[in-house]
């Protein structure tokens, strides 16, 4: 067993090791009127891995990488949620992010590790 993990779990390691990242309580700073992804758009690969790939690569939905899916079709499907697929709103994936994602998917290579359905 990982002794370090046990010590950390029981608190015996002390909190200094983990406290460094605490943001602090009682936050009062004003929050920007913009989503974080509007300031810094997320890359297509990042979005694919964290959204599309959970179904399209994991036994739930058809494989979509390596199929040269036209970008316009991808964009329409993401917004409408065709059939059993959920719809994704501009507040979840911005228009700018979706355009880049659809372009990337149009040329993305198939991933042999994925399992479609």
């Amino acid at each position: 067993m990982d002794r370090h993990r046990v010590l950390r779990w029981t608190g015996a390691l002390g909190v200094a090791a983990v406290a460094a990242v605490a943001l602090g309580s009682g936050l009062s700073a004003p929050v920007a009127a913009q989503a974080t992804y509007e300031i810094e758009p997320r890359a297509p690969e990042y979005l694919y891995e964290r959204t599309c790939g959970y179904c399209h690569g994991h036994n739930v939905a058809p494989i979509i990488r390596g199929r040269k899916l036209p970008a316009a079709v991808t964009s329409a499907l993401v917004r409408s949620g065709n059939g059993a697929m959920p719809a994704f709103k501009p507040t979840e994936i911005t228009d700018q992010e979706l355009e880049a994602l659809a372009q990337w998917l149009a040329t993305a290579e198939a991933d042999p590790e994925e399992h479609g359905r």
Binding site: G81, P86, A87, T91
Partner: protein, 538 residues
């Protein structure tokens, strides 16, 4: 055509989208807010645009398409929003409420709008404008000593998962079955559950900020103490405990939520109890109960029906192409072929090797006494059904359960019914028999799971149907109404419901309950602008 999609597929997709796009709030009066004419609505849209910017108000056929999507039956268009507005700050929420009060514009708040089985983002009645809070997506505080977090509505479980990994924080999440794309706040406010020891999400919630209809900002619990630092540490505050009235509620708009996170254990060991007969569920429930009450099984236990499990990774036609519902012997045959039983119970142990070694034989002996097999990674590792629950019981990211939505085919369709009962074997036997009878009568397969808390169980029934077939959708609607009604007659009411049955379920909780809710609503939101119809509250 060089595309990997055929011309027919692309045309079908285009046609489907064009068909949906023909519905526009300005073209069909029934999709406008009740008692609001087109000119007034257009003026409201202009005012909302001045608050959040042109690009974050959606009120035409193309831009509202995502908000209309749901998997539940809606043959009469009773859950079609008039549009959506997406603020990015509490101040914008307050300004939107001021406009809504002025024009009596009903607002349906969502966080990510992924309320699977219950209507996704769609409102309880047509014409409401979606108040989409997804753009408020900041993790505002993470106290690494206390394991507490303060989040905005748009923060998904995936986002927190990534944050924990990035900072190597010694904590685990507890997720619902569709964690990556859903909001921690949304699921908690709906009183959703997960499958680690922190599976009762509302129990693990601590402190919230609520914007009331008049713009007042309320911080519950310890949140309003000047120079306070205990908001996410102590739930109860002083005086009446208010957090509960803002869950499954339309009394205010929650804009910040505090949660407790589970310390990551050094060792985690998942188990699967394989029971071979439908009637075994009663003995399994009676075996689980004492271990949940004394916490020797610490996590939210799932008793999964074989068909529920197989619906994630298969289409119905993979199992059965005959007439009527899938016969029991066919389900049993496919279950055996997948190394699962008719019921498969998932629990886990968390701690050190020594702790787990002490507990494992006690639990194994108890479950084996019911005639079941108790299996671990050694026997089941790599089996997709085992791996799915192994992921859930450690708060991992998966969307595999989305697969059940397309059980009948590409069009999808699933609506959930979740009656609660005491965690007693006789209750599971009775509920399973009643649900099977009603669903089979309407031509639907009974695909259940039971989630066992301390002393209660949630019976989770996904009614899977073909939303592309109006007759099938109609049957699904009638089947659901019969289940709610007849379960209610036996004293079994749902803990949550789809937007299409909120009033029906609310009736079962009695007149006094409804009257009290109505009085609170009248006091806090006299213009009834926040989510009218939510949980049957006008």
């Amino acid at each position: 055509m060089s595309s990997g999609f055929s011309r027919r597929e692309v045309m079908a997709i285009g046609g489907a989208i064009a068909g949906t796009a023909a519905m526009t709030p300005l073209a069909r009066a029934r999709m406008l807010p009740a008692e609001m004419d087109r000119d007034v609505f257009a003026g409201v849209v202009r005012e909302l645009r001045a608050i959040v910017g042109d690009e974050w108000v959606f009120a035409d056929e193309a831009s509202t398409i995502s908000y209309r999507k749901s998997g539940i039956p809606d043959l009469r268009g009773e859950h079609v929003p008039s549009g959506a507005v997406a603020p990015a700050s509490v101040e914008q929420v307050q300004a939107i409420l001021a406009v809504a009060n002025r024009y009596k514009l009903p607002l349906w708040p969502i966080s990510t709008g992924k309320n699977m089985g219950y209507g996704m983002a769609t409102p309880a009645s047509s014409g409401q404008m979606i108040l989409d809070l997804k753009r408020m997506n900041r993790i505002l505080d993470f106290d690494a000593e206390l394991g507490t977090i303060l989040v905005e509505p748009g923060v998904t479980y995936q986002q927190i998962h990534d944050y924990i990994e990035e900072h190597d924080l010694p904590y685990w999440l507890d997720v619902p079955t569709v964690g990556p794309i859903v909001s921690m706040m949304g699921n908690t406010l709906e009183r959703g559950v997960g499958y680690t020891p922190y599976g009762d999400h509302f129990f693990m919630q601590c402190g919230m900020e609520v914007v009331l209809a008049d713009g007042t900002i309320l911080k519950t619990g310890m949140g309003s103490i000047e120079n306070g630092n205990t908001w996410q540490a102590f739930k109860w505050g002083y005086g009446p405990y208010l957090d509960g009235i803002f869950t499954q509620s339309n009394f205010g708009i929650v804009t910040k939520l505090g949660m407790w996170l589970m310390p990551r254990p050094p060792v985690y060991k998942p188990f699967m109890v394989r029971s071979h007969n439908v009637e075994d569920v009663a003995a399994i429930t009676d075996t689980i109960r004492p271990f949940r009450m004394n916490n020797l099984i610490p996590n939210g236990v799932l008793i999964m029906g074989a068909l529920y499990q197989m619906s994630m990774f298969n289409r119905r036609s993979d199992l059965w192409d005959g007439e009527g519902v899938i016969p029991l012997d066919v389900i049993q045959r496919h279950a055996r072929a997948n190394d699962i039983g008719m019921w498969n119970t998932f629990y886990a142990l968390y701690g050190t090797d020594e702790m787990i070694a002490a507990m494992e034989p006690i639990l194994t002996n108890a479950f084996e006494a019911t005639g079941a097999d108790v299996l671990t990674e050694a026997e089941m590792g790599g089996n997709p059904y085992f791996e799915h629950n192994k992921t859930l019981m450690r708060g991992g990211m998966t969307l595999e359960e989305k697969g059940l939505v397309r059980w009948w085919g590409k069009s999808g369709g699933a609506v959930a019914f979740a009656p609660v009962a005491p965690a007693k074997g006789g209750e599971t036997g009775g509920q399973t028999a009643l649900a099977t009878e009603i669903m089979n009568k309407w031509g639907f397969d009974y695909a259940p799971a039971y989630a066992v808390g301390g002393r209660e169980l949630h019976h989770i029934i996904f009614l899977m149907f073909d939303k592309g077939n109006d007759e099938h959708s109609r049957k699904a609607e009638l089947c659901m109404e019969e289940m709610i009604t007849r379960f209610g007659e036996r004293g079994w009411a749902a803990y949550r419901s789809s937007v299409s049955t909120m009033d029906l379920v609310a009736q079962q909780y009695g007149d006094a309950n409804r009257e009290v809710n109505a009085r609170i609503k009248q006091a806090l939101d006299p213009n009834h602008i926040i989510a009218p119809g939510k949980q049957g509250i006008a």
